[in-house]
């Protein structure tokens, strides 16, 4: 028998994988993809709640995520034009 807790645990594992990707990887594109993974993990735990309001909220989250990806990739392209790199360890202007 599948319970609500099983879905929440799968969602937690996915979120942790995305979180680990954000703090471990240095390639900016992989970091953006890990962010998508975290947003989708949150979506899974919202859909698991037996409520249609949660699904409307998931609809909003998907829209915001699409806008976020578009802006993030545009920033990535302009960063690549300025510095010819997508590696976050090469961007040290603000580093103390």
């Amino acid at each position: 028998m599948i319970t609500l807790g099983d879905y929440l645990v799968v969602s937690a594992i996915l979120f942790t994988i995305g979180f680990a990707g954000v703090i471990l990887r240095r390639n900016l594109i992989v970091i953006l993809m890990s962010l998508e993974l975290m947003l989708n993990a949150a979506n899974l735990s919202l859909v698991a709640l037996p409520d249609y309001d949660a699904q409307v909220f998931v609809f909003f989250v998907i829209t915001v995520a699409a806008a976020e990806v578009a802006v993030g990739l545009a920033l990535l392209v302009s960063l690549y034009r300025a510095r010819q790199t997508t590696d976050v360890s090469d961007i040290t202007s603000l580093k103390f």
């Binding site: 996915l14 942790t16 993809m33 859909v47 578009a70 990535l76």
Partner: protein, 167 residues
């Protein structure tokens, strides 16, 4: 949905999600992310959320991943060369992630409703697209319009960001 199918799709989603983080080649990572999203969409369908499952395939596996692959192709990003891994930093990062996972799992294990199985979401006479549409255009009409403005602003921002500076 049978528990067997649930575990197949859950394991598929988690394994390919891990492949996104572990792959050195960004193209392989993006394709793993597509498979992970398809598995997640199957999990949505298993919760009777057909509309969200379809949107997941159309928007994520379709539009967003094409955008990622297009940018990878445009910038011609190769697989990273094998640089020396700072093992201390990597162990610290993995440790923080594992602590987060353990904490979330402890919260879930103390959450009483998590042990119940699923109540039926609604009477089976109405489909979920109609229910979501009703909610979206009645209760959530103002947020819906605000999100439209947000997408418009994001579009204008992307156009301005990706324009070359005239010299």
């Amino acid at each position: 949905m049978s528990p067997f199918l649930f575990w197949i799709f859950a394991v598929l989603t988690v394994i390919f999600g891990a492949a996104v983080v572990l792959n050195r080649n960004p193209v392989a990572g993006a394709l793993s992310l597509v498979v992970s999203f398809l598995g997640l969409s199957a999990l949505f369908m298993s919760l009777d959320a057909f509309f969200v499952g379809i949107i997941q395939v159309l928007v994520y596996a379709g539009a967003v991943m094409v955008l990622f692959l297009f940018i990878i192709m445009l910038l011609d990003i190769r697989a990273e060369e094998r640089r020396r891994i700072n093992w201390l930093a990597a162990a610290g990062g993995i440790g923080v992630a594992v602590i987060l996972l353990v904490q979330i799992c402890m919260v879930i294990s103390h959450f009483q409703p998590a042990r119940r199985s699923f109540p039926p979401l609604a009477r089976s006479t109405t489909d979920d697209v109609r229910n979501i549409g009703r909610l979206l255009f009645n209760n959530y009409n103002l947020p819906f319009q605000i999100i439209g403005v947000l997408v418009l602003v994001a579009t204008i921002g992307v156009v301005i960001l990706s324009r070359r500076e005239p010299r």
